[in-house]
């Protein structure tokens, strides 16, 4: 039942090139534009069919803006978003709204907040069935059959068809949200922090479900998250952002074991681990995350970087492939040897 039938795993499904999204800063009575917040400033990456790319970073890094641009919930200020489906490639960044509607069914979203993402005035059956209804499945019985199928897929009892969202726990609501996203057999799922609002004991259930669904349906995930331990469990590759720019992209295992960018190193080191005493060797970054409305010159990370040299203050690094599959945007990427995290046996 996967929509990816007949297409090869591993080929590029989404190519984001030099994506920009600037928000104007307006001041005064006449709302004159006095500056730009460069929320996303020249971001490039690709996602391969059937893989999970995790987009990580802290607040204000632009990861959510990137995901909204890909879904065209926001109109990009520049760059290209090439989406390949059914052997044809289209640029979503410049597409008109009317044409977008046909492509949207191949690309769906799982939201962070399981409470606000479900309409409290519709029953579960209507919520999951809505994309089907909109896209032409007007036969009630046929729709009900498909919704029941989807509910089984996400392990929700079909008896809950007529229940309202308020009767469900956070984890169950997130299952409903996933079933709705799967209704149209999409190829790409953009999951925006899908487990960060859930209790610890429920997080694991949803993460496992997402992995199982990917194996069964050949889905491709863009997994937006801030929690590196969650990312380690679900992703094939990781892309790290800092203040609107991509700082590092790499295979998950390689990136965690040997980060190439000082920011990735600090991020890994700051992630709390459930091992008493592990914190003693932590790298604690100084100062605050840079303001995207007024980023520092050169490398935006240099004021917090332990390895910064004079060149970092003036020269803006570009993302380059320093090893096959490993992209870094750091002037000293080739000379630094940074510390990662050990893997459990």
């Amino acid at each position: 039942m996967s929509g990816a039938a007949g297409e090869k795993r591993g080929e590029t499904i989404l190519e984001v090139r030099d994506l920009r999204k600037h928000f104007p800063i307006r001041r005064g009575l006449l709302r004159r534009v006095v500056g730009q917040v460069k929320a996303v400033d020249g971001v490039s990456f690709t996602i391969r069919r059937g893989e999970t790319l995790a987009l990580v970073g802290e607040s204000g890094c632009g990861k959510t803006t990137v995901s909204r641009c890909i879904l065209r919930a926001l109109a990009p200020s520049g760059g290209a978003i090439n989406f390949t489906v059914g052997g044809r490639t289209a640029d979503l960044a410049t597409m008109r709204r009317r044409d977008l509607r046909r492509l949207r069914r191949h690309m769906q979203m799982v939201f962070q907040d399981p409470y606000s993402s479900l309409n409290p005035r519709m029953v579960v059956g209507e919520i999951i069935g809505e994309p089907l209804l909109i896209n032409g499945m007007t036969n009630r019985a046929e729709r009900r059959k498909r919704v029941t199928e989807l509910m089984e897929l996400v392990q929700l009892p079909a008896a809950y068809f007529n229940r309202f969202p308020h009767a469900f726990s956070g984890g169950q609501r997130q299952r409903i949200g996933i079933a709705r996203a799967l209704a149209l057999n999409p190829e790409l799922i953009v999951a925006d922090e899908p487990v960060s609002a859930l209790d610890v004991s429920v997080q694991a259930q949803i993460l496992n479900l997402m992995l199982d669904l990917q194996d069964r349906l050949g889905l491709t995930y863009l997994f937006v998250a801030h929690d590196l331990s969650v990312v380690k469990h679900v992703s094939d590759r990781v892309a790290v952002m800092y203040v609107g720019r991509m700082v590092e992209i790499g295979e998950t295992e390689a990136l965690f074991a040997r980060p190439r960018h000082p920011y990735t190193e600090a991020l890994l080191s700051a992630a709390p681990t459930p091992v008493p005493g592990a914190a003693s060797t932590r790298i604690v970054l100084e100062r605050e995350i840079a303001d995207p409305a007024n980023p520092p010159p050169g490398c935006a990370f240099h004021p917090r970087c332990r390895y910064a040299i004079d060149a970092c203050r003036v020269q803006t690094p570009v993302l380059e492939e320093i090893e096959p599959g490993s992209f870094v945007s750091c002037l000293r990427a080739r000379e630094l040897s940074l510390r990662g995290v050990a893997e459990e046996a």
Partner: protein
């Protein structure tokens, strides 16, 4: 939710049911709901509850004080009131009418009185209370009479109908304007939004009383009671829609940011479906609450306009017109019972406000 059946009931309960369950716990609001319903029942059956023709004046019954109903006659349950008799004043030689405690007039249920029509459907002369073997001038003056000898109780019943419906009609008009303009403002945004918002600000900044004065003064003198009734309604609602428009616009804007609206958009839903299937049902309850808070403002507006002599004019009867009679301090000294008309105004305004508060609290079961 103690038993599984309760939990199941809760699980398939609609938002309306949840709102009702929550509203039911709000005791003051429940009482207010009952009061408001009672008032509208009175409005519906005003003529049935009236005991004598509210328009019929009779010099003999001028300024009769409120008369109680005596329930027991010679130890048996036979309710009666006393009749009216004329007495020659020994100093002025004027004929003065007073209560004649020597003559009992018995009451009957569903007695006959003046002819009235129920919503224009049928005509009847049956009233809740009637008098048996009444002579000219006799009547059940529960709340006394005014200068022209008209029974205040009967007039109050009919006034309730006028004052309460003028609020309903007014709110309907301003609700239509508010939802339309507030919705347009939120959906289109940009210049349209700015223009509508500035318009709202201009209207809200105008002092209401002089504006009403101007508009009401512009009404032609020869208009019928009905025409003036509608004109006043329109005038009041033209100024009252701004609050509703703001509520609608604010709700629209906040709902547009909700994830479930974005999910519908991603599923390919049209603008119309998003507005009518997802957004409108979500704030219907807020609108109901806003309406129940707007109604008392309407009623007050009509009452003050009529009180100042700018709204409805006699022979129409409304609370404001009844209170107009109580404007004169000398009249009040002579007939203090004329102030009774203020009581329903106070009660209904309070009830509407409590009801609105209760509805607002209950509207968002998770808010």
């Amino acid at each position: 939710m103690a038993t599984p059946t309760d939990a199941d009931k809760f699980a398939v309960a609609t938002q309306l049911q949840l709102t009702w369950w929550r509203f039911r716990r709000h005791k003051l609001a429940m009482v207010s709901l009952v009061v408001v319903v009672l008032f509208y029942l009175v409005a519906l059956g005003a003529d049935f509850l009236a005991t004598s023709d509210p328009h019929a004046s009779d010099a003999r019954t001028s300024y009769i004080a409120p008369q109680p109903i005596h329930f027991f006659d010679d130890g048996a349950f036979r309710p009666f009131v006393y009749g009216i008799k004329g007495v020659r004043d020994v100093k002025t030689f004027k004929l003065v009418y007073t209560v004649d405690t020597g003559r009992k007039v018995h009451l009957e249920l569903f007695g006959r009185g003046y002819t009235w029509s129920f919503l224009g459907l049928f005509e009847t002369d049956i009233h809740l209370l009637g008098l048996r073997d009444a002579q000219r001038g006799d009547g059940i003056f529960l709340l006394g009479t005014d200068q022209l000898g008209r029974d205040l109780w009967s007039r109050l019943m009919v006034a309730t109908r006028v004052s309460l419906t003028i609020g309903l009609v007014g709110v309907t008009v301003s609700l239509f304007l508010g939802v339309l303009l507030g919705g347009i403002s939120a959906v289109y945004g940009g210049v349209v939004d700015t223009v509508i918002q500035r318009l709202i600000e201009v209207i809200r900044s105008m002092p209401t009383i002089p504006l009403w004065l101007g508009l009401a003064a512009a009404l032609p003198n020869d208009w019928s009671v009905m025409q003036i009734y509608f004109a006043i309604t329109v005038i009041i609602s033209l100024l009252a829609w701004t609050d509703l428009a703001r509520v609608v616009r604010g709700k629209f804007l906040s709902l547009r940011e909700e994830d479930f609206v974005m999910a519908a958009e991603l599923a390919g839903a049209s603008q119309g479906r998003i507005i009518f299937r997802h957004m409108l049902p979500s704030f219907a309850s807020h609108i109901i609450a806003a309406v129940s808070l707007a109604l008392p403002a309407m009623i007050i507006s009509e009452t003050s306009l009529s009180f100042l002599g700018l709204g409805l004019r006699p022979p129409a009867i409304s609370w404001g017109i009844l209170l107009q009679d109580a404007q004169n301090i000398q009249t009040l000294a002579l007939a203090p019972w004329l102030l009774v008309s203020a009581i329903p105004v106070i009660v209904v305004i309070l009830a509407f406000n409590f009801l609105g508060d209760g509805l607002r609290d209950a509207a968002d079961p998770y808010g």
